[in-house]
């Protein structure tokens, strides 16, 4: 019994590590391909080591334009979606009001609807209303599907907050505005920051909804999609690897911060 359980323990862990390897493999390949000089435009095989792609990431200027456009869209979407979503989260957690369940459905539905349906339905709306598609229709579409994720993220943080901290501040003669600025906001901020990062990454990486609402505007995923037919420049893998490195750095920094806080003994 004991031996078989020991074995069962290891068996699960070994499978888990293999699955993590399966998840990690494409990332390693992307990193390797960023140092590759492909033999031809349409080849996906590793050919020859080179640093050229990293030295000249913008050798194909179309791609860099697309990255810049995706970053611009991402920032705009993050600001608007975070503000709208945070306000909604406050209303839902802190207030009792009529029509609450309807609002909850309105927030839940976009997360459960296939992207394909949201993308095509917006296209149908823009076409029938005669709105030309481009940069701004992409922003509108992205804000729409990011808001729900912001609400859910901020709501989770707000719901887990100890209300007695705010009551204590009020007892100590803080005004409502002071309480909000000095107590509530700092406590909710990690949730808002997490929601903003989530919104940015959802917007930056979205392809399906963008594809139906971009007109002739090209974002980075749109560029990759188009290039997959004409031949992918290896610099695409440089962007992929750099994105991964930046995200990893952010996660590392946030975990260091959490650890430093625990070290000081002031658990937030």
């Amino acid at each position: 019994m004991r031996i078989s359980r020991w074995f069962a323990d290891r068996w699960v862990m070994i499978v888990a590590l293999l699955v993590l390897g399966y998840l990690a493999l494409p990332i390693l390949v992307v990193a390797a391909l960023s140092f590759n000089r492909p033999s031809s435009r349409l080849s996906y095989d590793f050919n020859e080591f080179t640093l050229d792609n990293w030295r000249q990431p913008c050798a194909t200027s179309d791609m860099c334009d697309a990255v810049v456009r995706s970053v611009q869209i991402g920032f705009l979407v993050t600001v608007v979606a975070t503000v709208l979503g945070t306000l909604m989260a406050f209303a839902l957690v802190r207030h009792r009001f009529r029509g609450r369940s309807g609002i909850n459905v309105l927030i839940f539905l976009p997360m459960a609807t296939p992207e394909l349906v949201m993308g095509t339905s917006l296209l149908a709306l823009f076409v029938s209303a005669g709105v030309p598609q481009g940069f701004w229709t992409i922003v509108i579409a992205h804000v729409m599907f990011c808001v729900s994720f912001v609400v859910v993220t901020v709501k989770a943080r707000l719901a887990g907050m100890d209300r007695r901290l705010e009551e204590a501040a009020m007892d100590l003669y803080a005004s409502e505005w002071q309480t909000f600025r000095l107590i509530t906001l700092p406590l909710v901020l990690p949730g808002i920051v997490a929601a903003a990062l989530l919104a940015f990454s959802l917007s930056f990486d979205d392809f399906i909804i963008t594809n139906f609402n971009a007109g002739t505007t090209v974002t980075f995923p749109m560029y990759v999609w188009g290039a997959a037919q004409r031949g992918i420049p290896p610099q695409v893998n440089v962007v992929g690897t750099a994105m991964f490195a930046v995200a990893l750095l952010l996660v590392g920094l946030s975990s260091l911060r959490t650890r430093a806080r625990f070290g000081l003994g002031s658990d937030s």
């Binding site: 888990a16 699955v19 990690a24 992307v30 709208l84 909604m88 976009p110 339905s121 505005w177 995923p221």
Partner: protein
């Protein structure tokens, strides 16, 4: 959270709640208004527009304009033309789901129950693929599964693959890609459920002479049900609507319904057909989801 309260006085009068009930009553609606309006105008209204477009006269075109003729016949027409792609979408997504459960359950269980202080690191590894671009990652599978790649070479050497056999541009590649791309969505909710599982319950089961398999079936599995249901939905909905994997890793023989909808709207510019297909996809997914939820008996996920 009234932002209008006077500041700087230091000593605000403790107003009774009733005195401010008017403003309090309005405040939540003011907070909700911008977001809810955005969702209504750019999510709700477009769905209605899509429903309308699916009933347009199919003989119209984008250039001449479409006439609303309540052409319900669009629906049987698109089913007749594209039922293989519909079946394939749900078949591939279902196969990928089974694979993902086989891979994802042990992974979620190991992280939740066996990882100890490595828990957070392993969780980061699960979401790590999402740090980089979906399309770039999917293209990496083209390199891994390439005819000249190490994997195909190995499989040919051990005769698991015929000497001219391929992995790329096969249904296998598409299902593998779907499994890979949506696996984290399955693992995370499953992990959240399994993390709350008290290991003493399993000890109690074995003390009462349950075998490992019995303990899993009678204790672990039922207790992980909410996460399992949420995870399968989060996996299945995007997987059945996906067409990136079919396009990049497959051939037109592997095209799913998404590929057809994409070309209906963006290449053939046949809006009534595209809209009818989109609406059918949503209806089919909703039917699968609600049928599944009824069977699984965990309505609280919604």
């Amino acid at each position: 959270m009234t932002l209008l309260a006077p500041t700087g006085s230091g000593r605000p009068p403790p107003a009774p709640p009733a005195a401010r009930s008017g403003r309090r009553g309005l405040l939540p609606y003011l907070l909700l208004l911008p977001g809810a309006a955005w969702l209504f105008v750019f999510f709700g209204v477009p769905l209605a527009q899509l429903a309308a477009a699916s009933l347009y006269d199919p003989s119209g075109s984008l250039a001449t304009g479409y006439a609303m003729t309540w052409a319900f016949s669009n629906y049987p027409d698109v089913v007749q033309a594209y039922w293989p792609q519909f079946l394939r979408s749900f078949g591939y997504a279902g196969l990928a789901l089974v694979l993902a459960l086989l891979l994802g359950y042990p992974l979620a269980y190991a992280i939740a129950q066996k990882a100890g202080r490595w828990k957070n690191l392993l969780l980061v590894c699960v979401v790590a693929p999402m740090f980089t671009s979906f399309l770039v990652r999917t293209l990496a599978w083209k390199t891994i599964l390439s005819d000249n790649g190490a994997l195909v070479g190995l499989l040919r050497d051990v005769h698991l693959l015929a000497p001219d056999g391929r992995l790329l541009a096969t249904p296998f590649a598409v299902v593998l890609g779907l499994t890979y791309n949506f696996l984290p969505f399955l693992v995370l909710p499953l992990y959240a459920s399994l993390e709350r599982l008290d290991p003493r319950l399993l000890e109690a089961a074995t003390d009462l002479y349950a075998s490992g398999a019995q303990a899993f079936r009678r204790v672990t599995l039922p207790l992980s049900m909410p996460g399992l249901v949420a995870g399968t939905l989060l996996f299945f909905i995007p997987a059945s609507g996906d067409y990136i994997n079919a396009e990049l890793l497959g051939t037109p023989n592997e095209y799913m319904i998404g590929n057809v909808i994409d070309s209906a709207f963006l290449v053939r510019l046949d809006y009534p057909q595209g809209a009818a297909l989109s609406f059918l996809l949503m209806a089919a997914i909703l039917a699968v989801v609600f049928g599944y939820l009824r069977r699984a008996g965990t309505e609280e996920v919604l």
